[in-house]
Symmetry: D2
Subunit: 400 residues, 4 copies
């Protein structure tokens, strides 16, 4: 067996030292992220169903949900979703195996509806969303059933690759943390704040411009004054988050497209722009590490919804992120690490064609000094690659 | 104003005296009846919304729901709905009026989902049904808003007619009552009995053959023996109902298409055949009086889902049924009455082109003797025609 | 073998002698009739495909097409269909048999598109109509394959009945012939005349009111004057047709709902109201004899799209119509005949439970005198019942 | 006015000199590319319609088409598409402007159908594809109508960016040219070759592994021998293309996933894997320059279907590609150029926040020496930015 691990010194200018850096994160309630979340939750539910029934995972990929925006008439204090959001679940699943039928479509619909309800506090899934399903039928040969407990790695389904890096630059930290904090924390204190939050960070030298778009929830915003007050609260909160992670100057703009004089502000009934005009689909938003980072090497792969046991585009992206983190955190002297994994179609996924690690070391530390430790970390990670499957199913590893 | 009421003696042989009589009723859980029920409940919800917002009813017709059967794998003790039932709500509604938007599509979806949940005790609307909506946009002129409180009758939307009669023949009573009793009563004692019940009565002279199809609910039927026991209970129950209304010989067959030896019995997960292979649509089932009676004059009009204020095909069918009942019950000497109402497009609905009443009188009573009373009853009914609208919206007048 | 044929004298007042008679026909381009036509043509195409592949017909029923109206902006001289008509094909078909897959869905979509193109001269099927398909999968046991050449009658799929009568009353003739002549003849001389023609005939004593609604084709109507000229031509033409078949007074109203002063006339782009606001579905229009005749006994069965070999609701309605015609035309002394056929589920379709024939004889001819001949005609018809299947597939027997 | 142009020296190792390089191109018939093509052609048709009607372009974005794979049963010599491919057009368009209705949905459906027919020589669009449409309604203010002839640049709709570079590395050239040559050339000589071609190039040092997947067309492949012969022809052809552009060793593998012994080869009826199991959506395939190049900075933006006049994610990606090409071709001494454009929401699109150009110069040429020329080229390009709109509509600038 060969892991084909290669450790090299990184020569590129670190992202944080370049003059311009652009980073974006689409929040949980953004239409694209909603699709990612639905795709991933349906995949998890199907995997679990297969495991419960057959002790192994059968062929499926549910990475093609399409969201068609609704139409709404938001009003201060509460208006209406006039036409429901329409979500079409696409993909394929094994619907029959060993003479037993598996209710894949029913599971998909139920899971998607539950995911939406859990993700959007203010949506009424009975009236404001339609979940439709046109999932094709895949088939699984007996020999292709993946049994996590067997411990043996399945073969790669494709020649593809995954990319990861660690740590986040300060700009990346701010952008990521801003959305996370608003969703997990601020939203609970300020019910007017919805789940569709989009954060764009542009750093130019030492100045960070943070543009934050926050869908507000109409029933919790009585009038324009209340709206302005919410905007002020959000701005202050975001500034606090940014100051924790970024040392330079920070400019924060919240809902910059508003035209308050014209009464045109970012008001929604449900907390997401999907209710009015913003369509979404899987793989158009955040990469597996939660960010959109054009200046970094990125995979175009839509990880969400892909099967969790042999889909390289998914597994290697998640694994590469994790390995970079492990290298960065566990190997002394490493300041930055990026990992690129390239599969060989038909070969076991724990034996990549190449596992290339680029490291940036602290001043005074040579790559040769850390090489052995880095290899060990990566080797361990590859050895335990099948554990990723279970952690994906458990929801411990995110794809957006 | 002219009611154009004409009372005549009925010359046809009464249905109950003909050699052969065929009567059918599709129960609440039958796919066609489900569509009728959805269409009617959506219409009621929209009418109420219009009334609440504008004090009047705006243009709408929601009489075209289509149900596409799902796919299931029923098993004794409980199996699965593999592919959800798909329901497409079609029709049109006024979605904007006087600058205000009306969430007609959201209301339609919510109402349909609620109706299904209320009608089918064992269905899981989160996973086993998809409610989609492609409802067109109608427009309403200010002058066409129907204000029930104004008391003035709107003009007929069409040249059409409605038909009714009273009383039910004994065969009709049995067929109607059998389904009603199973749904309202037996079902609660026997949880294995679903809502999709179809009753066909064929009377030949004095012998009534009752063919009853009852969808059983898999989770409440442990095995074939339990199933057979349920069948026996249903048969006995139905026989009891029949004996209350029919004096001749009664033969009862329950789920006659079962092949018990082959293990092929009428088992469902949800209580309706819509889960597996039986599509449905509006207007293909019961007429407004709850029965299918080919030997009687019948309107083909799909009453369910039609607007409740000027749709002649709906109003005149309901009104004709009610007027026949009133004549039969209130006028001494009348043994049978049938009413046919013909509208004049553009004329007030309380001024039909013709209101023709055929009566069968008791021996010794002439039509002339009852004519005045019959006319009075019909005249009163026409005078109060607009009250029908409100009673339809309240759900007091059924269309299936 | 027993045909259970019973010949009786008809006692009811002939329809043409009653004071009021209502008859309606929805033309080829009416949304409901379009659905009937699609359903029937898809059924024929599938039957033929099964025959070509397997020498027998497999299980299918395609009787649930739903048409959702589009939205148009008709303008004199030509406007636009803004939103296409949406047609959903529903039903079930055998998609796999003896290891071979049958492209049932593809055939259904292609056939429906072709049918629409053939039926509506002015529609652009590339842009103005969407044909979607959610047809379920049925299964066919080897023993259930119907082989027309075997000559043996299949068993009835249900306890159901069919009804027919002959001849048409004069009013019925006028209504039927009016639409047929406009579609087959006038339309070719007057390109402004579309295919969506609805004819309602109300006879009161000797006076026939014919209300005709004709969708005009915008690109062939330059302005209001041209429209009025077309209306005049249609009226004159209809009057001519009526005069050929009806002896009393005839009043003709064409497009009576127009408000010419307000410029509101019945103009369409495609020749059908389906382009704007009028939905349609199978079985809501004409009965199998091409008419809606509430005063006659009618089956509610949607014959269109039902399988052509053992679906009683279809076969017996077609057969009953044909047998009535045969009796009327072949048996001297018969002035009117109606036939009612009642099947016995599981028994061969050529052995009905009852074949009841009611005849009206000429003055001076008794029922007894014609009884033997009538029985012979009906017996022959039942003997050749399987020939109906082939004629349905060939399109020789219509269902609407 | 300020263009904010900055020219810098590129410090990163050129892609072609790195050890590993991965490049991919999905051909015209790949499901994702089909969606891109549909999205873009619908956008072009709508833009043209708006121009023809109003002399300006109205608000629209049609960048969300979803393709749901069909099901097929390919057989040597010709089999069947059992279930049609389903394509849902999503997005929004202005459907009414200045009181005139625009048939946006009809145009979208027609254009998509035409695009599919033009792109896939062997598909039967009557039976093998369903094009559905759920496009929302956008609105356009009079002031937002973009009139290309006015010459004035519209304002950016977002703070976003575009990236481009030139020239292609040899690996990129090979990958791009391989698909282009197969589609434009080989396919016409070898009718067995379909349009769904996927090319993956992995260069490791001087060795290029080309993995090519080619959907073959069943009706033009009589048997396995014929298939193998086609594979040999394709391999030889691809090798020829590669040798024209790449100097090192080239390994070519065609349809490597085939299992010829098991009779499992890449056979299709239509020339695309969309007929069986492979879904697709917009923005998941090639970037605007026709390649997927994870080692290059890439935008995640789905350019296809976005409006052509103020959508930064589209315009700046196309413009950045073009500017890099211009710089590379027009400025002596430049060996490589990459351009990054960052917009300022609300500012004219010809005044970016930053236009950053990185150049690699020939040995002996300093960046300072070329700076002025580079700036001129970029300045000219920005000055003529609005010409891009017209060229997009004309189809001169591709997005995939």
């Amino acid at each position: 067996m060969s892991r084909n691990i290669r450790v090299e010194e990184s020569k590129a200018t670190p992202v944080s030292e370049r003059r311009i850096e652009l980073v974006e994160r689409k929040g949980i309630g953004h239409p694209d992220t909603l699709c990612d979340g639905i795709a991933e939750s349906v995949m998890r539910a199907l995997s679990q169903e297969y495991l419960d029934r057959f002790g192994g995972i059968l062929h499926h990929n549910t990475d093609e949900s399409q969201l068609v925006a609704g139409r709404s008439d938001p009003q201060f204090g509460g208006g209406n979703v006039v036409q429901p959001i329409y979500i079409l679940i696409v993909g394929r699943a094994t619907k029959e195996f060993e003479g037993e039928s598996i209710p894949a479509d029913s599971i998909a619909v139920e899971t998607a509806r539950e995911y939406i309800r859990d993700s959007l506090e203010n949506i009424n899934t009975e009236s404001e969303v339609i979940v439709d399903c046109r999932m094709g039928e895949g088939s699984t040969d007996l020999k292709d059933v993946f049994e996590p407990e067997s411990g043996s790695a399945p073969n790669a389904n494709d020649t593809s690759f995954g990319i990861g890096y660690a740590p986040f630059s300060p700009t990346e930290q701010v952008v990521h943390e801003t959305e996370r904090a608003i969703y997990n924390d601020l939203r609970h204190d300020l019910p007017a704040v919805g789940e569709d939050v989009k954060v764009m960070g542009k750093r130019e030298d030492d100045t960070l411009d943070l543009t934050v778009a926050v869908a507000t929830v109409a029933q919790h915003v009585d009038d324009l004054d209340a709206y302005i007050s919410v905007m002020d609260d959000v701005e202050e909160y975001v500034r606090g988050v940014a100051d924790d992670h970024f040392e330079g100057e920070v400019n924060v703009a919240v809902n910059a497209a508003d035209d308050r004089d014209a009464g045109s502000v970012y008001l929604t009934e449900t907390g997401t722009s999907a209710e009015m005009g913003d369509d979404g689909s899987v793989g158009r938003g955040n990469r597996a590490n939660g960010l959109i980072t054009p200046a970094r090497e990125m995979s175009l792969e839509a990880a969400s919804g892909k099967n969790p046991f042999n889909h390289i585009g998914k597994l290697y992206n998640l694994l590469a992120s994790e390995l970079s983190n492990n290298v960065y955190q566990e190997v002394d002297g490493v300041e930055e690490a990026s990992v690129k994994l390239l599969s060989q179609i038909g070969s076991p996924i724990d034996e990549p064609q190449v596992a290339a690690i680029n490291v940036q070391t602290e001043d005074g530390v040579s790559v040769e000094e850390v090489e052995y430790d880095v290899e060990s970390v990566v080797d361990d990670g590859l050895e335990n690659v099948t554990s990723i499957t279970q952690r994906i199913i458990n929801g411990e590893l995110g794809t957006f």
